[in-house]
């Protein structure tokens, strides 16, 4: 439940955005962030973007995630 994933904003419509999350495209709500733009990396939790990430930070996290085994996935 605590889990939050890095995702990149692909498209913005009002307060909603399309984001790529682990290769999947999902919806995320941007109302908890200010000034997010297409191309930004964000941390997404339960459908809400809660923080912006630098590309480097996002990359680091994704690298760590790549080492995850299947069990973690069910927590989301």
């Amino acid at each position: 439940m605590c889990l939050a994933m890095p995702a990149q904003i692909v498209e913005i419509t009002g307060r909603r955005a399309q984001v790529t999350l682990l290769g999947n495209v999902r919806q995320a709500d941007l109302s908890l962030l200010e000034g997010a733009e297409v191309g930004d990396w964000v941390l997404v939790h339960a459908g809400f973007a809660i923080e912006r990430l630098s590309q480097e930070d996002a990359r680091q996290t994704l690298e760590l995630l790549a080492a995850i085994d299947d069990h973690a996935g069910t927590a989301v």
């Binding site: 439940m1 889990l3 200010e34 339960a46 459908g47 809400f48 809660i50 069990h71 927590a75």
Partner: protein
Amino acid sequence: MIARPIRIMEVCGTHTHAIGRSGLRSLMPPNIELVSGPGCPVCVTSQSDIERILILARRPGLTLCTFGDMVRVPGLTSSLERERSAGADIRVVYSAMEALELAGREDGREVVFLAVGFETTSPGVASLILQADHQGVANLSFFISHKLIVPAMEAVLQGGSRIDGFLAPGHVSVIIGPEAYEGLAIRYSVPCVVTGFEPADVLEAIVMLLDCIVEGRPGSFVQYARAVKPGGNRRAWEMLTRVFDITDAEWRGLGVIPRSGLTLKPAFTRFDAAERYPLPEMPSVQPPGCRCGDVLRGLIHPPECPLFRQECTPRNPVGPCMVSSEGSCAARYTYG
């Protein structure tokens, strides 16, 4: 190097997982003990709330939307899973957004979203309520069981558990900021390190924590700097405080902790499921033999509970610590 026994507590289900999954415990020197605290919001939902949620679920014409890990939490005689098999309309969602969408699509039904979670989740729910309010949605309400993590950490310390340091939750801290732990750290001389959710993060954080403990430096520090910023996410917090008031809340295993829960502000009462539907006061009753409370307070490890692996398993959980995959007992059972 330190010789005396050191107890480090984590208060985030993801950390429980990470530690379990990676076998980090077995890597620790014998004097360092990793203990799980009340970090799983599903686990700490009071039985009183669970019974009332089940009553809601049984209402005809009502759709209950919930996060997945609430589904198998056992009440006295039932669970959402059981109710679903008995015909209740219970939908697992990934985000509260889906509840809003559902309410929009099925305007003949009453939709209730089960709002459980710590400060990572509650700002999103707050945002959603504002949206619902703005849109004038009439068939959506929320059963609020959100909680705040810092009062629980304080309650653990006040309860006499000897804790030398905390691994503070990473994503909660994205919202509340690392400063939120400073008061606690200084008052009780317990350093806190905001930790990321990967085993590598946890290991790094433990090292930082040990440094602080040895040098006698109580304070709040950040390991998970890639996501956690000083001050946290002010906008998210403001949204939370626009919609919610802070109230006393009952935590399973810890009792009532003052100002540790959220309740809707008067302006949003019509979104409160507990106001909208008649829900009786239900006292909390502990299943006999269940020691989830002591596990949550870090007083015992899961294997020390007499029911662990006997009557209580992930398939047949007695208490919530075994139900949610983030619960201490479930993690221990799975990862050893």
